[in-house]
Amino acid sequence: MTGLAADRRTFLKGLGVLGAAALVPGCATSTKSPGSGSAATGELSLQSNLSSEQAKAAMEKLVAAYNKTGGAQVKLNTVASEIFRTQLPTYLTSANPPDVYTWYAGSVADSYAKKDLLLDVTSVWDGLGNYPKSMQTLSTSTNGQKIFVPTSYYWWGMFYRKSNFAKWGVTPPKTWDDFLQVCRTIQGKGIPPIGIGLGDTPWVASAWFDYLNIRINGAPFHRELLAGRGRFDDAKVKAVFTRWREALPYFDPKGKSFPFQEATSALLAGRTGMFLIGTFFADSAPKDALDDIDFFQFPIIDPAVPVAEEAPTDGYFASRKAKDPDAVKKFMAWLATAEAQETYVQNSSGTAIPANPDGKAADTALVKKGKAMIEGAAELTQFFNRDSSDALQPTADAALTKFLDKPDQLDQILKDWQVAAEKVFTA
């Protein structure tokens, strides 16, 4: 074994020499990354995070349809959504970035505009006069440029099975008190009234925070808070949790252990009563069960607060370094048309609603009801991470799951949340 030890020493020495040699080239952080974009060959690259099977197929159809119109050819590059999310900053700061990206409207897009990484597409918006004001605001950066083209949105609601509600003899509640009454009735039947899925998908809890906050304190307060201009240990934020505590006894205790997909199964199987979730849950639900599904609006708590709804909006933005900005804008103008959006909606799971008011959504009672709810709302919010940043989301996940587990420690939880949030805002 002596030989081995001597070898080890020489090895370590060698490692030191090699390491020193590696040090020589210099010391700086230049964000060089291999660009996946194309050279100026009249081809546009579209980086897409829509990697689920149906959405990916719909994107392929969409791109094929555009390539037939005779503009620059678009090359679709689909990346798994988690990789896309972590790599997006690298894409945008690389020397040769992809041209067009799927992403979310609002604060998350604006954060890149602030770093001057996005293409100004104001000229595209000249042709989008029919889009509602809310969409315009969502697509405008802090310095007044349009940087985003919205193409679809979806909604969140309290979903339930019609047959089960009939069986339990309850009707969809409108107010918070009615809601708690419904919870008590369902619990009386031995069923956990409120389903949730926090294992692996703790961000689902943020929907409760968002909704309670926009119902109690209103959307403007909510947005300011999430933009870092408020404090999470504010008394107004505490009021949100005081309300939430009233509903805590009705949450499914098993919801802590499984992800929202299983919470969906639990709802469909009648093991929970209702479930606050976005329409994307339908992707993992069997089609025949969907006919029995309905939803109601998150209960009104303070009638004096203008009604706001969560309507996360998806769409596209482009890199400022796009090789052929005119071709990019032409493509984005096409994406904003009703036809293009219908092509996508028809080929995907069908619960997304076209952003273009002239675009036809899937012709089901559920989608019609959802669309009417969003159109009737005084204010729209996106979702916790979209109204703030992906960086702030984990701080909410930690705070909210802890609250659901240990509501007694609320003061400490809010204090910790504020500290964690400050770190994100100053990073």
């Binding site: 952080t29 294992g199 252990s257 499984f258 989301q393 930690a398 587990d405 964690a420 990073a427």
Partner: protein
């Protein structure tokens, strides 16, 4: 040490072999190392330098900055390290990493060594047991995590077994309870690591000279004494390998924790590695994450160098 000797010995002999022409002799004297060997050394080194050393060095530099991955990093000196002192999540992660190192490392050494002793002798069917213990090593940790998540899920295998044997009161949301999450993840990690350590020890045991056991037996040593005074001292070399493997594996344990709990619920099963990942790629605080990486690196280096230096001293 010995290589210098052989070189000087070989040096003068080279021109003679070269046939006497002074130019050729000179060239062969300076080019004693064949170009092929140079290629073998420097091409991998160049690749390594670009993909390993350079990013590692950058990591050290980034640890001294605040960086969001978008704008230019701003230099903050040792600010990130002083932030750690007041960061409660860092303290939890450090504590959990220590627990992990002791439980995961300790139990896998004890378990692996025990299994190796049990299964070292060639008996009928021993291969089946060895294979069975080694099987979990073959699975990817993500697959292992998936299997164990099914075991742990509400009303899953673990809960069912507990209820069947009348311990229904112990049923918990194993991975969702901050008091049990970390330990619930250590179990599958051990399930895998024990097989691996067992194989290392089996190989070590095979190398022990049987004559030593015979001599010990003749001297009247009991089985226990033979293990204590023959086997264990003979396994010194393997021990250093096992220790390195265990320390490195503990500090880089990431996949199993990430795929089972993501460090949650609310950071209760966070290890330094998962905290580093979520800080870097979820909170995009790349400077702070790099500082965490530096801490992990220093911890691994300290433990392993400490052991190597001691082992080296004992041997010389």
């Amino acid at each position: 040490m010995t290589s210098a000797l052989t070189e000087t010995a070989r040096g003068p002999s080279a021109p003679r072999a070269g046939g006497g022409a002074s130019r050729r002799a000179k060239r062969s004297a300076t080019g004693r190392v064949s170009p092929l060997i140079l290629v073998f050394v420097f091409v991998p080194f160049a690749v390594e330098a670009v993909w390993v050393f350079w990013p590692a060095v950058q990591g050290f530099w980034l640890a001294l900055t605040n960086w969001d991955g978008l704008s230019a990093p701003t230099f903050v000196g040792f600010g990130n390290f002083s932030d750690m002192a007041s960061d409660p999540i860092f303290r939890t992660a450090l504590k959990n990493t220590a627990i992990w190192l002791v439980l995961f490392g300790g139990l896998s050494v004890i378990g692996g060594f025990g299994m190796a002793l049990l299964l070292q002798r060639e008996r009928r069917g021993v291969g089946i047991y060895r294979a069975a213990l080694f099987t979990p090593v073959v699975f990817s940790l993500v697959v292992t995590a998936l299997i164990w998540r099914v075991f742990y899920q509400p009303d899953g295998l673990v809960d069912t077994i507990l209820r069947t044997i009348g311990l229904g009161d112990f049923v918990q949301p194993w991975l969702a309870d901050p008091d049990t999450a970390l330990y619930a993840v250590i179990v599958p990690a051990l399930w895998r690591q024990i097989g691996y350590v067992m194989v290392l020890y089996l190989a070590g045991l095979k190398a022990v000279d049987p004559a030593l056991y015979e001599a010990a037996k003749v001297d009247g040593a009991s089985a226990w004494q033979r293990t204590l005074y023959v086997t264990i001292p003979q396994l010194k070399g393997v021990n250093s390998v096992v220790l390195s493997v265990i320390v490195i594996d503990s500090l880089r344990s990431f996949d199993i924790v990430w795929s089972m709990t993501k460090g949650g619920p609310y950071h209760s099963s966070e290890l330094l590695s998962t905290y580093m990942y979520s800080t870097a790629f979820q909170s995009t605080q790349l400077g702070y994450a790099s500082a965490l990486a530096v801490v992990i690196f220093l911890l691994a280096l300290a433990v392993i160098l400490g052991y190597l230096i001691r082992a080296f001293r004992e041997e010389t």
